[in-house]
């Protein structure tokens, strides 16, 4: 049997790597330059010729218009990247495909076979659109089948493969642009992902940025030149500076001090300005320390979420370029205490793990033609066995292929090729099937012969005659990194797939429509938004797709409250499909609209920023008023986050699309944080309101209520007390509304009630949507008041109310969902 070829690819922000596994040993793939790492840089020249890797990277400074890097961070967005000379614009996945193509060619160079299947690693916190774009890139690069694995899982698989110890692991992966941390556990040869955390926007790049800021600050201090990121004039110069800084940073992992000299870097109104500073290790460390601390906080948060102390960790695996920095190593060591796994290459570990994973999911990369053996002779058997198994005695299941002629065996037997084991003779079931458990030699490929015997005891040839199972650490199904669900009209989320659910997955739930959709009308649409995230409220989750049922597709009008059976399906590569069945009409709808990360325009970001700022200040004042120290503390964190988002928005305005995405992300997180703070404040606030309103209502009802109303109120007050004792917020609000209503009804029986209402409404005239009309109404009201015309006064007040602003609408928030 020819050896299988399992290929794994680490498609990184800065560098990409490929590795191959043949069932026994791992091989790193070298590129044309003889290096393991291929920079993820693509250049397209005027003639349209594509260059990838180191040669492209060298031109990134001199020819930034035609050379692109860091497109991984734009995966899944509609952002196209321009190549000026060739007058082309390429989507991020097309550029990623170029990198994959080049790696595929390297594999062919080294091993003589161009793989058709591969496993590609993606950051753990990638969302569906990003994963889908990665799969698309692989398809464009000529891979017919591809599976995705999360980077930390891949690293752990690789680390676990070479080590033998059991226990909890932490994989700390700080790459060019993303930071992932995963908690894993190996027991009984099984690798389990206990939990993930991370930051999609923290990496070596941010270190560079921090150092650049430091340099710019020095420029301001020493030369009085103020260079702003938002100024498009400096974009090129800043890029150049950043590259210089990055090189210096890497160099500083080895030396203590380095001069940084970029003559005439910036063009200002007062002529060119040179950058000439001395970077010391200490200075770089000081600039990067907050970022490192941030990554450590994420690690601690992850451990705490799973009830673990750092001391319980068996080992920490470091992955990614920046982990070469001695300063970072010592910081992480100090914070987590656990020893680092040595003798693992932090730069290629991910690719190795991906190759191992390809083996455990049986993704042999040899093209069908080359793996085909001389036409097998014998009765065809359909076999199912794990290509790779951690279990020492897995099952092999087989069934005779129906319709195949030739003598039929009565008994079958499995024999290990080394002769050390053989199964008992087993008769075939009525369906022509057998289930046998085999014994494996640990950490080796095990080849088995399949032998058949006729009823007369004579051997019957079977095809295939043999197969191989590799024993080793496995991971059976890739887990989903963030929950996926459907946004409901009340802004809640119905979760279809929980985080950690194995892929592929499919789930059906019954929803109900909120509103009727008239047959034939195009403007009338039922939207079913699909969101991803761990938060309770739909508007805090990411919209990753939407299914739409349009009026013009309907056979008959869809009434309100009609049933819709919604099925979501996710494949291993993160592709989502949705299907809605409307039983009343017997119709099925399938188009999923828009599967893209929304663009982050500076304007929309600014809007979000302003809203967040307002909300924050309101929360703060109310927290102070109530004296809630916990909330105040969490708000100061929010303050920091806000400051950072502000910086990113500014950079986005200077043309940095990536910073824009980061800001958008940050805003979402900030929203969630504020939501939590608000929830902390809500209960005491509600209790207080209830107390006040109960007193008011009972006094009004006592004065003006009917006996029946008095009974209703007593009942409602009792219910309020019950809900308060049980801390049932929604229930309490509901009863409060009821109390308020009874109180109001009694209140309006007071002879002067409308007069008071008029006073309060007229004091808010300035807020009205139509101030001049409101003022006119106030005049009319005054006259009515003078002439004691109650009915008219009431009419005026009601009209005034209509002009005053109302509360925000929940449904808008919930991505306009049409189901519940």
């Amino acid at each position: 049997m020819a050896t299988p070829l399992y290929v794994g690819i680490d498609l990184g922000t800065t560098n990409s790597t490929a590795a191959a596994f043949d069932g026994e040993k791992l091989t790193l793939i070298r590129n044309a330059q003889g290096a393991n790492l291929t920079p993820s840089v693509v250049r397209i020249d005027a003639r349209g010729a594509v260059t990838v890797g180191d040669r492209a990277r060298r031109l990134i400074d001199s020819d930034p218009q035609n050379t692109r890097s860091e497109f991984k961070r734009l995966m899944g967005t509609s952002q196209a990247l321009e190549f000026a000379a060739a007058k082309l614009s390429k989507k991020p996945e097309e550029l990623a495909a170029e990198v994959l193509k080049s790696l595929r060619k390297d594999v062919e160079q080294q091993l003589g076979v161009a793989p058709t299947c591969a496993v590609i690693s993606v950051p753990a916190l990638f969302e569906l659109p990003q994963s889908a774009a990665t799969s698309e890139a692989a398809r464009l690069a000529g891979f017919s089948r591809v599976e995705l694995i999360q980077e930390p899982v891949a690293s752990a698989l690789a680390a676990g493969w070479s080590a033998n110890d059991e226990g909890s692991w932490l994989v700390y992966d700080l790459g060019g642009g993303t930071f992932d941390v995963s908690l894993l556990e190996t027991r009984d040869g099984l690798l389990r992902v206990v939990g993930h955390d991370g930051d999609n926007f923290l990496g070596g790049r941010d270190f560079d940025q921090a150092i650049v800021d430091e340099v710019l600050a020095e420029l301001l201090r020493t030369q009085g030149v103020d260079i702003r990121r938002a100024d498009p004039r400096h974009a090129t110069a800043l890029r150049k500076l950043k590259r210089a800084v990055e090189e210096a940073k890497i160099e500083l992992s080895r030396t203590d001090e380095l001069p940084l000299l970029v003559p005439g870097a910036f063009e200002t109104d007062n002529g060119p300005v040179d950058v000439d500073v001395v970077l010391t290790r200490a200075r770089v460390e000081a600039a990067c320390a907050p970022l490192v601390q941030r990554s450590i906080n994420v690690c601690l948060r992850l451990l705490a979420a799973h009830g673990l102390e750092p001391s319980q960790l068996g080992k920490v695996v470091l992955v990614g370029g920046p982990t070469a920095m001695p300063f970072l190593r010592s910081q992480v060591q100090a914070a987590l205490g656990a020893p680092f796994a040595t003798d693992l290459d932090p730069m290629t570990l991910v690719a190795q793990g991906a190759a191992l994973y390809a083996a455990s999911s049986g993704l042999d990369g040899r093209p069908a033609a080359s793996s085909a053996q001389p036409a097998p002779s014998g009765r065809k058997v359909w076999l199912q066995y794990p290509a790779m198994s951690s279990d020492l005695s897995p099952h092999v299941v087989g069934r005779l292929v129906e319709g195949d002629s030739g003598p039929k065996p009565a008994l079958v037997r499995l024999v290990r090729a080394d002769g050390g084991w053989s199964s008992p003779d087993s008769p075939l079931s009525a369906e022509g099937a057998f289930v046998l458990s085999v014994e494996l030699v640990p950490r080796k490929p095990n080849t088995f012969r399949l032998e058949g015997m006729g009823a007369d005891g004579k051997p019957v040839p079977l095809a295939p005659a043999s197969f191989t199972i590799v024993q080793g650490l496995t991971l059976s199904d890739p887990p989903l990194s963030r929950s996926i669900g459907v946004a409901l009209a009340n802004n809640a989320v119905r979760v279809y797939f929980e985080r950690g659910a194995p892929l592929p997955a499919r789930r059906t739930f019954r929803q109900r429509t909120v509103e009727a959709v008239a047959k034939g009308s195009t403007g009338n649409v039922l939207r079913i938004p699909i969101v991803q995230g761990e938060l309770e409220w739909a508007h805090l989750c990411r919209l990753v797709g939407a299914l739409e049922i349009r009026g013009d597709q309907l056979k008959a009008s869809l009434p309100a409250d009609a049933e819709v059976e919604l099925t979501l399906e996710l494949d291993r590569g993160g592709r989502l499909s949705a299907r809605a069945l409307v039983p009343a009409l017997g119709q099925v709808f399938e188009q999923v609209a828009q599967l893209q990360v929304p663009d982050a325009t500076p304007e929309s970001l600014q809007e979000g920023l302003t809203a967040a700022r307002e909300r924050l200040s309101m929360l703060r004042s109310s927290a102070f008023r109530r004296g809630a120290p916990g909330v105040v503390a969490s708000l100061s964190q929010a303050d920091q986050a806000l400051a950072e988002i502000e910086r990113d928005v500014e950079a986005a305005r200077g043309g940095d699309a990536d910073a824009g995405q980061k800001a958008r992300r940050g805003l979402l997180d900030l929203d969630a944080q504020l939501e939590q703070a608000e929830a902390g404040l809500r209960w005491p606030e509600l209790e207080e309101t209830v107390r006040e309103e109960l007193a008011v209502a009972s006094s009004w009802v006592a004065q003006f209520g009917s006996p029946a109303e008095q009974t209703l109120l007593d009942e409602a007050m009792k219910a309020c007390e019950r809900a308060r004792a049980g801390r049932q917020q929604v229930e309490l609000q509901r009863h409060l509304r009821s109390v308020r209503k009874l109180g109001n009804a009694a209140f309006y029986r007071h002879p002067s009630a409308w007069e008071w209402q008029f006073d309060s409404a007229s004091s808010r005239v300035s807020e009205a949507s139509d101030v001049s009309k409101a003022e006119e109404l106030v005049q009319r009201g005054r006259r009515a008041l003078e002439q004691q015309r109650r009915e008219e006064l009431r009419h005026v007040v009601e009209q005034l109310w209509r002009l005053l602003p109302e509360d925000a609408q929940e449904r808008r928030l919930a991505h306009d969902s049409g189901v519940r």
Binding site: A489, A516, P559, A560, E709, A719, Q728, E731, A745, Y748
Partner: protein, 494 residues
Amino acid sequence: MIPFGAIIGVIVALRLLSRNQEGQSQQASPYATNSSYLFLTIVLVIPSTLFTLFGLLAGVWFFAPFTLLGIALCFPWTVARHVFIPLGWPRWASRFSYLAMMSWGSDARGGQALAAAWALLRARNPSAEARAYVEAKLEAADSPLRGAGIVAHGLMAASRGDLETARVLCRSVSLLDRRVAPRLARKLALEWCLADAAAHGRWREVLVISQKGSGSYSLAAFFRASARRLLAEPHAGRVVLISWWVLALRWWATWPLLKRAWRTPPRRASLLDLEAGETQAADRLARALELHAALARVPAGHEALALSAAAVAWDEALDSSKVHDLAAERAQGVGPLAGAEALDVLGDEVAEELAAWALAREVKLAQLEPGSDMVENVAYRVRNELLERIESAAQDMTYRLAERRPLPSEEEWRHFLALQHQCTLATSLGGLEVRRLAFDAVNVPLCNLGAWLFNERQEKAIANGMFRWLLEESRDVGTEEDCRRYQNNVGCGA
């Protein structure tokens, strides 16, 4: 000779005339029957028919076809009902139904649509063209929508196979003012609902429908008597059954039901053998699970009992020290508190499942055994769920009203019905307290919807239906102002 040409000419003329005057005559009396055909029948059709009849008796065979035609024109509904509808000819059914405007009271157009929709329901393979014809008739009946029109929409839904909508619509006629829901329409709706419920074996629903519906008293009474016997209710005697059967006058149609109901011996309700597994399940958790699983097979009528039993068993299981030990043992390696936490989660999961079951089986909360923690928890969840649904539906209606997005009249009515149905369900499960909260949630949006339909869209019949329901609710759980408002609104007429 009979001047048939002239007669037809007069009909056409009257028809045109009545069309021209429609606007004014409607203003004069909104519930008036369009009496032109009645007039014509008395003045022309009856005398001429009598004349031809005498001629026929005198042996002039030439008059035979004219006599037949004359008789047909005298009893147009009978012809539509017994000839064209069974034949499945929507056009002709609708035309004769037009002539039968007497039977349709204030909703002649609805009656036409109803006959057409019914004929479509009976058609073997209705052509697209026939469908389009009925749709057009339905549209004509839509402004304003009244009782017969609503039933017509219901039958149309049934012919599409959408029985759920058909049920909702046919049942809703009883909410309308009788003056805008002609007796014939009410009768047909009731008969359809009874037949549908019987066909699906929902005998309990038959009881409810036969009580609420109107228009066909004796047939409803016969169905009720049969359902009571089939359900083995106490005092369901044969005498009552046979008397109503005779009085209902649908002897051939209802004969199989009579036979069946006659045979069933009224049996006393027997208690469920819930105790069967008791000796088997020694430990409390298994016992609770057993009772829980047994809920899947609880027959109708025993839900509250079975649910209480399961809930009490869960209370015991979740408190039992043995179960805590078991959980702690299973939780080894997860953490010291995991066992207790898992039991807490289990409690929540159980409450959720039981609540979902209670909701699906429409268990009345007041019948549950008081004093059990699990029962309280379940009741709270059910109540909360019911109210949340109502609140969110009310909210959606509020949004729609705020944006002034109109729906076709029939869908407006169904939108109201959906909300009303949820309120009724909530009341029937949760009792007075839930009724009050539900009313508070829907009061404002429904009132606004009604006012909008009444004032601006001239859909007075359905708006009036809404106000009538709101009035009923506000009498029990509203304030005095609510009562007065709805009394006024209902008083504005339909």
